[in-house]
Symmetry: C2
Amino acid sequence: MKRKVTLKQIAKELDVSISTVSKSLKDSTEISEDTRLKVQAFAKLYNYKPNNIALSLKNKKTKTIGVIIPEIVHHFFATVISGIEHLANENGYNVMVCLSDESFDKEVINMEMLANGSIDGFILSLSKETQLKRDFHHITEIINQGMPVVMFDRVTNDILCDKVIIDDNLAAFNAVQTLIERGMKKIALITTVDYVSVGKLRTDGYIKALKTNDLKVNNELILKIEDIDNCENLIEDLIKNNKIDAVFAVNELFAVTAIKAASKHNIKVPEEMSVIGFTDGIISKYASPSITTVSQNGIKMGEKAAKMLIERLESDEWDDEQFKTEVIETHLVERESTK
Amino acid sequence: MKRKVTLKQIAKELDVSISTVSKSLKDSTEISEDTRLKVQAFAKLYNYKPNNIALSLKNKKTKTIGVIIPEIVHHFFATVISGIEHLANENGYNVMVCLSDESFDKEVINMEMLANGSIDGFILSLSKETQLKRDFHHITEIINQGMPVVMFDRVTNDILCDKVIIDDNLAAFNAVQTLIERGMKKIALITTVDYVSVGKLRTDGYIKALKTNDLKVNNELILKIEDIDNCENLIEDLIKNNKIDAVFAVNELFAVTAIKAASKHNIKVPEEMSVIGFTDGIISKYASPSITTVSQNGIKMGEKAAKMLIERLESDEWDDEQFKTEVIETHLVERESTK
């Protein structure tokens, strides 16, 4: 059987990155001529078939939406997919999901694969690595070829397309403001590293709330976590070494880990320390005490993204000037972890 | 633009079920001749393109695996997908995921869509509705056309193919046996309705453990839940109305709901009541008390399923007689909810 050669195989064979292969095949001048020619010759030799989106778009509609998310073991992304499914099915569309697993290369490979005749348009949220590299050529290329893309949650200003976001900065500001209004002053922040766009925005919202209330921003109370799988010791140190009034965490895993650390050191939640998390997932609901949290409304976000994409797909006009960014409302779900 | 007519549109137009359309197009004698001819004529008129898997298999390999799972907001299925992704990527394969959303029709539509040139083979777990209807023609058809299928977790004896399961009966038996050995006698079961294959097997394991130890099987202590979203009151009634020593729950949501109900009625876990759940997910890990649970090892299950499928895809022989059922080992993860 004849097997189609893939971007990945070409990259491996020539010992270059997938991004280099992808750009070389598009004749990008970012890549040296030598490398470009080598990649193109190799691709030709092994009969590499690039996307031909324009052709595929002309020939037929698949009535299928391709979704790319960074990870699946994450309740927020699962709820967004539920929302996409719901709206898509109502409108006669199917949904295919691929995972980038927070990897740039996997994001490029998955887009390449899906765009190759399987789907009519994309809904996607950027991988951490893509945000770190700031390399969006694979997405721009798809859009330039005429396939609509809607980005959600982790978006970038570097790409012109429809987007669905929440106001992460405002949501964080409001959560911290609530803690301050209830008399808490020494408020810690557990957040991600800055290149994760939503983490950075939530960090900014926290700082803004402190400053608005003339509270000092103490860097010792700001914990920026890179590796979510190894956050327990860092969070425990933060909580046991500082007599803090409250914790604001940018996801529910950080929030529940803070509660577990408090319990270990006999700090009572919410009597001695309040906790507000982000993302109204199953952990927040079933933790003891259950966790007060900013609801991101993943279902609504997914529905809105699907609606925007389907409207693009079914509209006869293609007006680049009218890309929209929809902002989904958030609200605080009050539970047992705040007083 | 010319749009491809879908199974769903034909079904809607002729006011018959998707299954009827699918079977009629395959000329199944299960469907009346009148209906068959009507469906076939309509499909021809609207230029319906059925799968031509044999042709697509002959022409090229996509190096892509299609996965169909019943739901995404479920930690177990998410871990299986992580396992599939890991093994598939290592072997140069990509993965596309579709959700049946526990619906038979969506399972049929998704298989139709994916089989149409997007993938080389399937990994799937049956929807609840498919198990209830016991209608597997869509899967048999795919296999008969020469596309390999590996089933996991929710499988059926009615289909001959490779399968990956755990020994649900034995795992449940061992969990309940552990409770009995620690002196508990009045042990309640929170399970699913019987048509969910794994629920039934776990129920059987519970009953076997009681009988092996000469304990009476009391139907008042067996709660079979159909609608997982509305289980709270039923579980609360079970726990407050019976002074029980222990609960064995067939998933982690039932287990944590039992713990919440006990807490509400001031029953101390594990001092007055022990709880063992099933599926080592994030709820079990982060609940307070954390929950002792049967680990299903979803990652390993996914890896094994992907390995079996890739071996089929890359083997030159096609030997129907050698379908295998692999049994993944389970073990009890001891946490705070048992004494």
